[in-house]
């Protein structure tokens, strides 16, 4: 990192947890503010520049999910959010991502895991801001013959049959969809698609791209979705349309 130190706001009602998390993040070179509830969170956001919010879901009073939704609706909508969920539950994850969280960690989490997630989200947000306004409310994204369900993480063909994607395929497709008609280098793609299991992710981007092409029905010659740009990278060549949440 250069002269800029990332500023993380940790919001948790449990004093010990937020202090220990804060200490760990500080020891790892981040600037940290702490908040015990939504009110303190808003006060901090209004008075200083925050690069990322770590938000506990289970809090008395206004819980993390509704705080996250309000954050997305207000003037701090660009601030990335990592949720601390109390449950290892699909619904929490899905609701959290629908509410606009960028990622989540499940309690009990390790501080190393949280730090890795924070860094990945900040890197993603900084490296390549999406040039497509994918709002949190749009659950379905349409391109070509396909519709992508962004919460269930599968592709739907015109007949409505679902083709589930692996985590890496989904992340890669999201990166392409978030940046249509834009040439993305292999390095950019690798950085943007590194997700939860970054340390063990050793598949080459080319292999992942060919897997995704196969899934989308792109042939070796006829590439109607992901085109290869010689010595530069790849470009997603289809126009992308967002669909409302309850289509």
């Amino acid at each position: 990192m250069s002269s800029h130190t990332d500023h993380i706001l940790v919001v948790d009602d449990d004093r010990d947890i937020r202090q220990m998390v804060g200490d760990y993040l500080r020891r790892n070179g981040l600037r940290v503010s702490l908040a015990a509830d939504g009110r303190e969170m808003k006060a901090t956001l209004d008075t200083s520049d925050v690069d990322l919010v770590v938000l506990d879901v289970m809090m008395p009073g206004e819980d993390g999910l509704s705080l996250c939704r309000n954050l997305r609706a207000g003037k701090h909508r660009a601030v990335p959010v990592v949720l601390l969920t109390a449950r290892d539950d699909e619904t929490d994850r899905i609701i959290g991502l629908e509410m606009g969280a960028d990622d989540y960690v499940t309690k009990p989490f390790s501080s190393r895991e949280l730090l890795a997630r924070i860094n990945a989200v900040i890197r993603r947000a900084r490296m390549l801001p999406p040039n497509l306004q994918v709002s949190e409310a749009s659950r379905w994204i349409r391109f070509g013959d396909w519709r992508l369900d962004t919460t269930a993480r599968h592709l739907l063909d015109p007949q409505g049959t679902a083709y589930p994607l692996s985590g890496a395929e989904f992340r890669l497709l999201r990166v392409f969809i978030d940046h249509p008609q834009r040439v993305l280098s292999r390095d950019q793609l690798l950085n943007l698609t590194q997700g939860r299991d970054a340390d063990v992710f050793d598949r080459s981007i080319d292999l992942l791209v060919s897997r995704l092409r196969q899934r989308l029905g792109d042939g070796a010659r006829e590439q109607s979705y992901i085109k290869t740009v010689r010595s530069e990278g790849y470009v997603f060549s289809q126009p992308v349309v967002l669909e409302g949440g309850d289509a």
């Binding site: 220990m20 049959t161 679902a162 692996s166 890496a168 050793d202």
Partner: protein, 445 residues
């Protein structure tokens, strides 16, 4: 379920038994009273005929006696009755009287004629019975009384009325039996479909008193089961929530300590505790999992995505060449099932394979295969029970909580399918998720 042994000749269903008892009983009673009535009527007509005969024969004989011989032939037809007539000829050849009734009739005729004429009775035919009684008039002409006993003819509508009666009878039996057995069938169905999660449509508490009572009892039972299950889930989930915060604190604290062997051990213990808390909660939830609407899923792509996730995480999971199929299902829940089975295989064998195939009945089956130590045949079923551990080969050493397979089993049931464990050919374990018959569309490879 044990069924009480009943005699072999008895039909199996209550409906058939009731129909048998009521139908046979009512028909028997009906037939008996009809036979009695019929006999009574026969008796009445006979005695009426005998009385007629007794009064009629002396008058007719006296009339013929007084008529000039040449006028008798003209009068004979007028004297004819339903069961006997007069003939101006000797009796036909025949056997002596053979039946009690013919002798009785002959005696009656003899009495009616004050035994003034010697009678020569003959049986001319026995089926139908016909006999002739010959006497000689004063002027020497033979006179024969031909008797053909016959019951009063039955009205032509009688068989129809009889048939109609039997029909009404059987109809009533049918309605009554249906009334009695249908609520039973409904109760059985409701008990069978009882959803412990409490998503039950209560049985209508109506109908005859006993039926309403039984429905009420079943509804109360449903409510109790649902309350019990939701209480269990709530307790487990409360414990789990309340434990997660202190476990998180413990973890963060231990992580902040100086690196040491005891730190590693503590972290290992915390991992184990948190896994148990998580899976205990999963297990409690799996009994009452709520399913959204099913979606049509390409199962091959589905299995590819799961294998891909494991491969990306550096775990050796392979999708073997299999059939192509798609089914209506709940992919999130099915994914959890397969993850549990694959995790189990990875824990015991280090690697796993998955395969999609269609069984003989057209159901989609997903196999999760490993080459681990396997499970002894006599413990395959027990292995699906919660907290079941197979010592020592599949014991705590592998770090399992003993809940993974039980969760998979519960979730498979929630999907309407079934989970089966079997030894894999050539060693290892084969876990098969059999999906319910559902809408499937053929897909082109």
């Amino acid at each position: 379920m044990t069924v009480m042994q009943s005699p072999r000749w008895l039909p199996g269903t209550l409906r058939a038994r009731l129909i048998l008892i009521l139908g046979v009983g009512l028909l028997l009673a009906h037939g008996l009273s009809f036979a009695l009535l019929f006999g009574e009527r026969m008796d009445a007509t006979r005695s009426m005929m005998l009385r007629n005969l007794y009064e009629d024969v002396p008058v007719s004989v006296a009339l013929l006696e007084h008529l000039p011989a040449d006028e008798r032939a003209a009068w004979v037809p007028r004297l004819e009755r339903r069961t006997y007539r007069y003939l101006l000829r000797p009796a036909a050849a025949g056997a002596p009287l053979s039946t009690e009734r013919s002798r009785q009739v002959t005696g009656l005729i003899d009495d009616a004629l004050d035994q003034r004429y010697p009678l020569r009775p003959r049986t001319v035919s026995s089926m139908p019975e016909r006999y002739e009684v010959e006497l000689t008039l004063a002027d020497g002409q033979p006179l024969t009384i031909e008797i053909t006993p016959a019951p009063m003819p039955v009205a032509t509508w009688l068989p129809w009325v009889l048939a109609a009666q039997v029909l009404v009878l059987l109809l009533c039996v049918g309605v009554a039996v249906r009334l009695a057995t249908r609520p039973l069938a409904r109760l059985a169905l409701a008990a069978e479909c009882l959803d412990p999660a409490g998503n039950n449509v209560p049985l209508p508490e109506e109908g005859p008193w006993e039926v309403a009572q039984a429905a009420q009892a079943l509804n109360a039972l449903q409510a109790r089961v649902a309350a019990h299950v939701s209480e269990r889930t709530q307790i487990l989930s409360a414990i789990s929530h309340d434990l997660q915060t202190p476990i998180t604190r413990m973890r963060l604290r231990v992580e902040a300590m100086e690196a040491s062997p005891s730190q590693d051990k503590l972290l290992g213990d915390i991992d184990q505790v948190s896994q148990l808390v998580r899976e205990g909660l999963d297990y409690a939830r799996s009994a009452s999992v709520t399913l959204g609407p099913a979606i049509h899923v390409d199962l091959t792509a589905f299995l590819e995505s799961i294998a891909g996730d494991y491969q990306d995480a550096g775990r050796p999971v392979q999708l073997l060449q299999g059939t192509l199929a798609s089914r209506d299902t709940h992919p999130q829940v099915l994914r959890r099932v397969l993850q549990n089975l694959i995790d189990n295989a990875l824990a015991h064998a280090g690697s796993a394979e998955t395969q999609l195939r269609i069984d003989g009945e057209g159901r989609a089956c997903i196999d999760v295969l490993d080459r681990g130590p396997g499970i002894p045949a006599d413990q395959l079923e027990a292995a699906l029970k919660p907290f079941h551990r197979l010592e020592p080969s599949r014991g705590r050493a592998t770090g399992g909580t003993g809940l993974g397979l039980a969760i998979a089993q519960q979730l498979t049931q929630a999907l309407g399918g079934s989970l089966r464990l079997s030894p894999r050919e050539g060693g290892g374990l084969q876990a098969t998720v059999i999906l319910p018959e559902g809408a499937s569309r053929t897909i082109q490879p």
